[in-house]
């Protein structure tokens, strides 16, 4: 008797949609397509699993969360690390055999505004010898400092300056944290979600030369 509930119009039309469309809607980054280099999972699945387990064994509680490809909508393992331990983890994955992630492909940040912690600093790493890719992330609140990666890769210097400029995340231990893309007199951090797209600031003089930087 309880089954005889009349269906609403939307239910009826939903069930009437052809099956192929619903399959398409499920396709996302987990669908591996060779033509955009996406057949990694088949190649690196076991390597990634062993790397993640080695990291968890070595760092224990510092690895807060791990997102692996078929379970989450990512294309390579994403490992959330505590801010205090990030430099050690970077050094470990850079030099340890079995990891060899010697190349910092990118260092950037994401602003997830209503969430707390608000920012995620993202490190994309690449292994030149084995062609693996991995992503490390650090969650940071507004005003918190993240340790700098310049001791591991000097090339992270400008990337961190850009993160400071665009997001306002400070890096502790950075040799020279100042604005890089915007004018040094600029007010605000543009890539934050509460910063508007339009509306600019005008300066009467060009940026002055700083002789103290050449000491």
């Amino acid at each position: 008797m309880a089954k005889l509930i009349s269906k609403s119009a939307s239910e009826r039309s939903r069930n009437a949609a052809p099956r192929r469309e619903r399959e398409e809607l499920k396709m996302d980054v987990r669908t591996l397509i060779p033509s955009n280099g996406g057949d990694w999972l088949a190649r690196f699945k076991d390597d990634w699993k062993s790397q993640v387990s080695a990291l968890q064994k070595r760092f224990g509680a510092d690895i807060v969360e791990v997102q692996m490809p078929p379970d989450h909508a990512v294309e390579c393992p994403v490992i959330y690390v505590r801010p205090q331990a990030i430099v050690e983890v970077l050094r470990f994955v850079r030099s340890e055999s079995g990891f060899e992630y010697g190349f910092l492909a990118d260092l950037t940040a994401v602003d997830l505004m209503p969430e707390d912690p608000r920012f995620e600093v993202v490190y994309n790493l690449f292994s030149i010898s084995k062609h693996w890719r991995i992503r490390l992330k650090v969650r940071a609140r507004d005003g918190e400092m993240v340790p700098t990666a310049t001791s591991v890769w000097p090339g992270a210097n400008w990337a961190e300056r850009e993160v400071w400029d665009m997001f306002g995340i400070k890096f502790s231990g950075h040799p020279d944290l100042r604005r890089i893309l915007m004018d040094e007199r600029w007010d605000g951090h543009p890539l934050r979600k509460d910063y508007p797209l339009k509306g600019y600031q005008i300066f009467p003089t060009p940026e002055p030369v700083k002789p103290e930087l050449l000491e």
């Binding site: 915007m182 004018d183 509306g199 300066f203 060009p206």
Partner: protein, 170 residues
């Protein structure tokens, strides 16, 4: 030489026209190329779409030696005071050609860092639209500038006339 009433004499008019002929057929551009339009500006200066045919071959990167400021590319709030400095350092006569959509009006970038048109900073004579404009469009712009110099429509010539009138009446 001027008459007693302040009207310009026949000889001066012919001299002005000869001077304008010389000026418009030997414009020395200062290529202020910042972004993509800079590449099309280089293409205009190269052998396929030759800018040298119209006399503008001698590109001079020093503002003291150039007379046409060819702004090709985006001008950002960080760069705007630099552009103004360069324009101020140029000696008269000076003409400004704004090449590309980004220089003319900010283009497709209506964002926090971009100056929405260099005419907010410097007076512009010719706007060449396009993103980036075809080298033929740049040549058209140059020919239009030459026409303007011939007809006395450029900002520099208008300024000169206005100053002369004030000098004559004051």
């Amino acid at each position: 030489m001027n008459n007693k009433d302040g009207k310009v004499d026949f000889l001066t008019t012919r001299l002005d026209r000869i001077v304008d002929l010389a000026r418009r057929n030997a414009l020395w551009p200062l290529p202020f190329g910042t972004s993509c339009c800079g590449i099309e500006m280089m293409a205009t200066l190269c052998s396929d779409y030759d800018l040298a045919r119209f006399g503008a071959e001698a590109v001079r990167f020093s503002p003291k030696q150039a007379d046409m400021l060819l702004v090709a590319g985006i001008v950002v709030s960080k760069m705007a005071p630099v552009l103004r400095n360069v324009y101020d350092q140029m000696g008269e006569p000076k003409y400004v050609m704004s090449m590309g959509a980004c220089a003319s009006s900010g283009g497709i970038f209506n964002v926090y860092s971009v100056t929405q048109g260099i005419d907010t900073i410097v007076p512009v004579d010719v706007y060449v639209p396009g993103c980036p404009p075809n080298p033929e469009a740049v040549l058209h712009g140059l020919l239009r500038l030459q026409e303007m110099i011939k007809n006395g429509e450029t900002n520099f010539q208008k300024r000169q006339r206005a100053l002369k009138e004030r000098g004559a009446t004051a």
